[in-house]
């Protein structure tokens, strides 16, 4: 029996003894939802031959039908096509926007928690100040001054969102640094940075990783709110929030224009939440 096979067998018995070590249903379901959405977005140009911005004034504001499953909008554009192209935009913003906050916030939190002293004061006072302004208000305010557009949305969210990760990781590092293995590493004469980044951070990062999924949802909702307010992407971009704003004008006569993009957003959101919750369960079991 090869080493790999032995490992697989061991995991197999472990899985049977601890049923929760198998990937939880949530991760599978959520993962499939996200896979379906990303797949549909990638394949949209092949599956749906029309351009998301192709106008057809003969088919304006038509209710959902076989030809247009989600109906058409006031320019006769196919809402399903736009919703799927929109997934490309909103998911991209969601994933891109959390990269900087996750990396910077985790590092700032780790250094603040381990070093203490003025580094901790500096980071935590910055966190306090940013926390004092409601998240949405501060992001809107920053975009208001920077101007609309995708890059500015990413900048605004990045400037505010990192504090969540800093707080999470700092709390974990504070707990970890008093454990015996850290004392042992210090006794071995390991340097401070090596202890933080090679040993403490990998143990302290789990809650931040788990939070990533919820954060992506938060970012997508924020970006769509900016689009809705006219501070996000510019028309005719098929961004979900912008589409909801455009559909609002016709909500009495053509409810589908404003509602369909919202369902897509909810679908993506539930997918990420299921994956995040499943991941949290999995890490909690591992930790025990």
């Amino acid at each position: 029996m090869s080493a790999d096979a032995r490992a697989t067998a061991a995991v197999g018995t472990l899985g049977a003894a601890h049923p929760r070590l198998r990937p939880p249903l949530g991760i599978v379901a959520g993962g499939l939802m996200l896979l379906a959405l990303t797949g549909a977005t990638v394949l949209a140009p092949v599956l749906l031959p029309t351009d998301p911005n192709a106008q057809d004034l003969n088919t304006m504001l038509q209710p959902p039908s076989a030809a247009h499953p989600f109906g058409t909008d006031n320019y006769g554009r196919d809402v399903l096509t736009r919703v799927l192209y929109g997934a490309g935009i909103d998911l991209r913003i969601g994933v891109l926007a959390v990269v900087f906050p996750f990396i910077f916030g985790s590092l700032a939190g780790a250094v603040a928690g381990y070093a203490g002293g003025w580094a901790d004061t500096l980071v935590m006072r910055a966190v306090d100040v940013i926390t004092a302004v409601p998240f949405m208000v501060l992001v809107i305010a920053i975009v208001a001054f920077l101007g609309p557009g995708e890059t500015n949305i990413l900048v605004a969210i990045g400037a505010v969102d990192w504090i969540i990760f800093a707080r999470l990781v700092r709390g974990e590092v504070l707990r970890e640094k008093n454990l015996e293995y850290v004392a042992a590493l210090r006794a071995f004469g390991f340097g401070r940075w090596r202890i933080i980044f090679r040993h403490i951070l990998p143990n302290a990062i789990a809650p931040a990783v788990t939070f990533l999924a919820s954060d992506i949802v938060l970012v997508i909702l924020t970006a769509s709110a900016l689009g809705f307010l006219g501070l996000g992407l510019r028309p005719p971009a098929p961004e979900w929030g912008l589409m909801i704003a455009e559909g609002r004008t016709f909500m009495y006569t053509a409810w589908w224009v404003a509602t369909m993009p919202g369902f897509a957003c909810m679908f993506a959101g539930i997918g990420f939440i299921l994956v995040g919750d499943g991941l949290a369960d999995l890490l909690r079991v591992r930790g025990q």
């Binding site: 006072r125 306090d128 100040v129 940013i130 004092a132 302004v133 409601p134 998240f135 949405m136 208000v137 501060l138 809107i140 305010a141 920053i142 208001a144 001054f145 920077l146 101007g147 919820s214 949802v217 909702l221 769509s224 709110a225 809705f228 307010l229 006219g230 501070l231 979900w240 929030g241 909801i244 609002r248 909500m251 009495y252 409810w255 404003a258 509602t259 993009p261 919202g262 957003c265 909810m266 993506a268 959101g269 539930i270 990420f272 939440i273």
Partner: protein, 311 residues
């Protein structure tokens, strides 16, 4: 208690000062010159210079900040370029509207969350629990403004039960006009509230003092409402403070959906018309409001939990 109160206020002051610095610096984010950005392409050099001078943009940055702080301290919150009126003229009425909306949604959230959390906790891991938890998870994944539009389509446009937008005149009229927006805000709020209250209730239900209360022969309802719910509400008080900050942020978008003349819709209008001074002042108002709420929850908490008062 006095020392506790003063200590909390003392912690807040430096944060408030740095918040003013942060908000003051926002104007520096404007690409290029803010004065020409506001006045547009057709502005003359002279008018741009005049505005720069009026705002002190031609002075060193620390002098600009000192000027900003002096204005704040003397109650001069700036002048709306669009309406040519001081911000303070519109502030009290608009603040009142937003305050009404937030408190209304807070009350609705509690009315929704408490019964649902009780049901979910008592029927833990059975179908009522699953249904409630799934239903209350939806707002975490959906844009609040979209939920507002759905409510608007169903209850205001199709069924015609409630007004679609505006604020109305008089208290009962306000209650009617703000019902859908408050419900929209409270759905997200109640979602988090019921989730936490459920687990907090489950914790309390399994404590020995709950068993003791039952063993004393108290009726089930007395134990549930007099003992269990009271103890389970404790961790929720702090949560209310945190979530109110989200509700305030959400109100900016929801006020726009329902055309409510509060601070949020004013902020969005001002952004779209590049009325930068108003945007800065409103951001500051939102921040101060949030800090005040957090201070209040910190100070109210000991009233609910005698254990903190001693410490």
């Amino acid at each position: 208690m006095l020392r506790y109160t003063l200590g909390r206020i003392g912690q807040m002051v430096p944060i408030a000062v740095f918040v003013t610095v942060l908000i003051f610096l926002l104007i520096k984010l404007v690409p290029g010159d803010p004065a020409s950005a506001i006045l547009g392409d057709r502005a003359t050099d002279a008018s741009v210079r005049a505005l720069r001078h009026q705002w002190g943009l031609d002075r060193p940055i620390w002098e600009q900040y000192a000027l900003y702080m002096r204005n704040l301290a003397t109650g001069n919150l700036g002048q709306s370029l669009r309406y040519q009126t001081p911000v303070t003229a519109m502030l009290p009425r608009r603040t009142g509207v937003t305050f009404f909306l937030i408190i209304y949604s807070l009350l609705l959230s509690v009315l929704i969350a408490v019964p649902l959390a009780l049901l979910a906790a008592l029927y833990r891991n059975r179908w009522p629990d699953h249904v409630i938890r799934s239903f209350m998870a939806l707002p975490l994944a959906s844009p609040p403004f979209w939920i507002g539009i759905l409510l608007l389509i169903v209850f205001a446009l199709k069924l015609r039960w409630l007004p679609a937008e505006g604020y109305g005149e008089g208290f009962t009229d306000h209650l009617q006009h703000l019902f859908l927006p408050a419900l929209t805000l409270s759905y997200a709020f109640a979602s988090v509230l019921s989730r936490n209250l459920r687990s907090s209730l489950i914790d309390v239900l399994t404590t020995t003092y709950t068993d003791f209360a039952r063993a004393k022969g108290l009726r089930g309802r007395t134990v549930l409402f007099g003992h269990v719910l009271r103890a389970a509400m404790l961790p929720i008080v702090t949560l209310v403070g945190v979530r109110l900050s989200y509700a305030i942020g959400g109100s900016v978008v929801i006020e726009t959906v329902f055309a409510i003349p509060g601070l949020g819709s004013w902020m969005v209008d001002s952004i779209l018309s590049r009325d930068y001074v108003v945007v800065q002042t409103l951001t500051l108002m939102f921040a101060l409001g949030t800090m005040l709420i957090n201070l209040t929850t910190d100070l109210v908490y000991p009233l609910f939990d005698p254990r903190v008062r001693v410490g």
